[in-house]
């Protein structure tokens, strides 16, 4: 089991992917028409997945910082994982990339980032 984030040159390998959520948001337009309860709908493709992922680096503060730095570069990044077949994607950082010391172990480093998948 190996998870990686890469920009094609630099690759960071967290020890595990500790959390994940992704969302598809509809862009369909629901038209309300005067004088009727019925609606009209204009279909539009949804945007690609967006969400938040959490990566754990068990001991290496330096690796965690390198991951944050990589997430902060102006590039399309690739997330790959060998054991969850639907998660792999090209993505860009969409919000924050946070480095946090694990409260319990006081040893592990957790990198949390918001992503927008790129199709």
């Amino acid at each position: 089991m190996t998870d990686t984030i890469s920009d094609g040159v630099t690759t960071v390998t967290p020890d595990l992917t500790d959390g994940w959520n992704d969302t598809l948001t509809s862009r369909n337009v629901i038209h309300e028409v005067l004088g009727t309860a019925e609606v009209s709908v204009s279909l539009r493709p949804t945007a690609a997945r967006s969400g938040t992922a959490k990566l754990t680096f068990l001991t290496s503060e330096a690796d965690a910082r390198a991951a944050q730095t990589l997430l902060g570069t102006a590039a399309v990044l690739t997330y790959a994982t060998t054991d969850r077949s639907t998660l792999g994607m090209d993505f860009v950082l969409a919000g924050a990339a946070t480095v946090e010391l694990d409260d319990d172990s006081r040893d592990a480093w957790i990198v949390t980032f918001d992503f927008q998948e790129i199709i």
Binding site: R27, L34, G35, V41, S42, R44
Partner: protein, 715 residues
């Protein structure tokens, strides 16, 4: 309720073309191109030459295969004039049944022209379409400039597929009969890599091609509308990394372009609006030819024939009842009235030679045999013209002569002026003309007509004599077409003039009076005036509308009768109406020009400087009543009161205006009938005045249209 899929695809033709579908350089002949009707075609020298065998339109066409329906393609070609042509010569490329045509500016000039790029973008609806290369040649012929019928060389014809721009964010497309330009597209995209190439200043005059499509899933139906617009703005917003393209219909070119120099040489003759005055359509085409446009066929037109008052100083121009007003020019002449020959009316003067020698007549203002006076003139300043029709019993030379008098009976010696002898063919009425400026001391002129070296019994007939004062400067714009046909008080009034005797018929001078009251200078485009200002003044005055639609087709229409195909557009609650306003107001101004929405009277003040006298001139055009008045000022010569009347009708029709938002209908077009059913408002029927469609990748303003109406009445 419908479920729909609406998409707006944006193309920037010629910037980033990819697949070449077809390419032909005519190195090996005509390459399968076939001459159309009235066309002679040849392809021997690395280009395709086409020219008219008759008529004004000529073409060559070829089917292009390998197209993908739904994709957008651009046909490009290079074209040049084959030889000197001092007529309008316009090259065009079009695709049969698809999206109008694109044209070059008029290619008249001397010798072989320089190559001009020509391209036309279209959306394929089949795997094969017929591309048409065509030309149009004007019928103008001018003495001194002439010119052949015109031929065009086409070369390097290619058809390329256009890629759609990625990163569409939002866009509105709108058509508005009250706005110039009529059509507009404002489209926001994620800034593309080619953004710097989308330069509206480019001499290529870039286009934006937008394809709006809308598919209804159940019951299945689909509609597509293409917009071929002139790129006019390219605005980058750095923080959002977006680029907003503004594109307009082709009126934008006329709004930009102004008269920069007075036309001269052969160009002046080709561009002279006076030549085309009898047809406003022709006058408009002369301007459109400079912008790659041409009016679509139509019958709405107006007459701007240049007119001017004149007085015929001859008291009896055609011997209709007697020979009062003429005397024999010498003792060798027997002067009589003849009903055997006449050019106009029922009779003419006949001058029969008694013996061999000259014979002819003098025009005077008194009775035969006792001339009381010759024609009064003002010396040194004004140009006079003497013209008449003559006919001889044998082919002989005829001469017109002017004899000047310082008093009623004192000849100014040595001052006679004669025309060169003109050979008049026996039995053919021939018009002769002399233009002259009397000497400073002249107070009278005696015009006479002489048949040269007649034999005894030969007869010279003279009819339809005209002597009139023109103007101090015959090159003056409004007056230079001063060589007018003979007239008298019996001439039937027509669309342009009324004719009358000033006293007794056939025994007094006669007048020709204009029936229009416009200032002739409206026909002239002064330096700095935009092409649009020049044309719109004439178009408004005629009560017509000029616009270019989203397919580059120009129309001159009467707004009262113009009815585009399609419609009525129905906007009803419980069907497709999302929101709306119904405004009945005496207040408010129109956003387009700040004038009141509703009014009952119109006053337009025209104030201009007369270019002849440099005096300030002022005229008012007035219509309606005084309750609420629209006041406009124009710094142009007075064209008549047509615009005031037209604006009054438009103002009254705006008493009730509905602005409605509804589900999109891509077939809506200003001018179509519209029927509305807004909650709490009686059902209305009227005319669609403007429509704007909104498309968006993420916002709610998507797949909807906003419509404005006019002329609403309870249905």
């Amino acid at each position: 309720m419908p479920v729909t899929l609406a998409v707006l695809d944006i193309y920037t033709p010629g910037i980033d073309t990819t697949d070449v579908v077809y390419s032909e350089s005519f190195a090996g002949g005509a390459g399968g191109w076939t001459a159309g009707a009235n066309t002679t075609q040849s392809a021997a020298s690395g280009y395709l030459k086409i020219e008219p065998s008759s008529g004004q339109d000529f073409s060559s066409s070829r089917a292009i295969t390998g197209l993908t329906p739904g994709e957008v393609y651009t046909v490009s070609a290079s074209v040049k004039r084959d030889a000197s042509a001092f007529r309008h010569l316009v090259a065009a490329v079009s695709v049969t049944g698809q999206d109008g045509a694109s044209r070059t500016p008029s290619q008249y000039g001397s010798g072989v022209g320089s190559a001009v790029a020509l391209s036309h973008t279209f959306r394929a609806t089949a795997t094969s379409h017929t591309v048409v290369l065509s030309g149009f040649v004007g019928t103008e012929t001018y003495s001194g400039v002439g010119g052949t019928a015109g031929a065009l060389r086409f070369d390097d014809v290619t058809v390329c597929r256009e890629p759609a721009l990625d990163g569409f964010i939002s866009g509105t497309l709108s058509l508005d009969e009250n706005r110039t330009p009529y059509g507009e597209g404002i489209i926001t995209i994620a800034t593309p890599s080619i953004r710097n190439l989308l330069d509206p200043r480019s001499t290529a005059m870039l286009r934006v091609f937008a394809v709006a499509s809308r598919t209804v899933l159940d019951p299945a139906s689909s509609a597509v509308r293409t917009f071929n617009l002139y790129l006019h703005g390219n605005l980058l917003a750095a923080a959002g990394a977006t680029t907003t393209l503004t594109a307009r219909t082709d009126e934008a070119m006329l709004l930009d372009a102004s008269q920069l120099e007075e036309p001269s040489g052969p160009t002046a003759a080709i561009l002279d609006p006076r030549v085309f005055g009898p047809s406003l359509r022709d006058m408009i085409d002369v301007v459109l030819f400079r912008h790659g446009g041409k009016l679509e066929a139509g019958s709405d037109d107006a007459d701007y024939t240049i007119t001017h008052d004149a007085t015929n100083l001859m008291i009896n121009p055609g011997a209709e009842v007697n020979t009062t007003g003429a005397v024999a020019v010498n003792a060798n002449t027997t002067l009589a009235r003849s009903t055997a020959q006449h050019h106009a009316g029922v009779a003419s003067y006949s001058c029969t030679a008694i013996g061999a020698g000259n014979a002819g007549l003098f025009f005077v203002t008194g009775s035969a045999g006792s001339p009381t006076a010759y024609m009064p003139v003002t010396g040194a300043t004004n140009v006079y013209r003497f013209t008449c029709y003559v006919r001889t019993s044998v082919t002989r030379d005829v001469v017109l002569t002017l004899r000047y008098f310082s008093t009623a009976s004192t000849v100014i010696g040595g001052a006679d002026e004669s025309t060169s002898p003109t050979t008049v063919t026996a039995g053919v009425w021939t018009r002769l003309t002399a233009a002259f400026i009397p000497p400073a001391t002249a107070t009278f002129v005696g015009p006479f007509v002489t048949g040269v070296s007649l034999a005894a019994g030969n007869v010279l007939f003279v009819d339809s004599a005209l002597l009139y004062q023109t103007w101090s400067d015959e090159s003056d714009f409004a007056r230079s077409y001063a060589d007018i046909e003979p007239f008298d008080g019996a001439t039937a009034s027509d669309a342009h003039y009324n004719y009358a005797w000033t006293g007794t018929a056939n025994a007094s001078t006669s007048t020709k009076t204009r029936s229009d009251d416009r200032d002739q200078m409206v026909l002239r485009q002064p330096l700095g005036m935009t092409d649009w200002a020049y044309l719109s003044n004439l178009v408004f005055q005629a009560g017509l509308d000029l616009f270019c639609n989203e397919k580059r087709q120009w129309f001159l229409v009467d707004p009262d009768t113009y009815l585009p195909a399609g419609g009525p557009i129905e906007l009803r609650e419980a069907v497709n109406l999302k929101d709306g306003s119904d405004d009945i107001t005496l207040e408010g101004t129109r956003p387009s020009d700040g004038t009141p929405v509703w009014f009952t009277g119109v006053v337009i003040r025209y104030a201009w400087i007369d270019p002849d006298t440099l005096e300030n001139r002022e005229e008012f055009a007035v219509a309606g009543d005084r309750r609420k008045v629209l006041y406009l000022e124009r710094s142009i010569p007075y064209p008549g009161d047509g615009e005031a009347t037209r604006r009054l009708a438009a103002g009254l029709a705006r008493g009730r205006v509905q602005n409605l938002t509804a589900l999109a209908d891509l077939t809506a077009t200003p001018g179509q009938a519209v029927e509305t059913e807004v909650p709490d408002v009686p059902e209305q029927a009227g005319i669609l005045s403007s429509v704007s469609w909104a498309f968006s990748a993420a916002d709610d303003a998507h797949d909807v249209m906003t419509v404005a109406t006019r002329d609403l009445e309870d249905a």
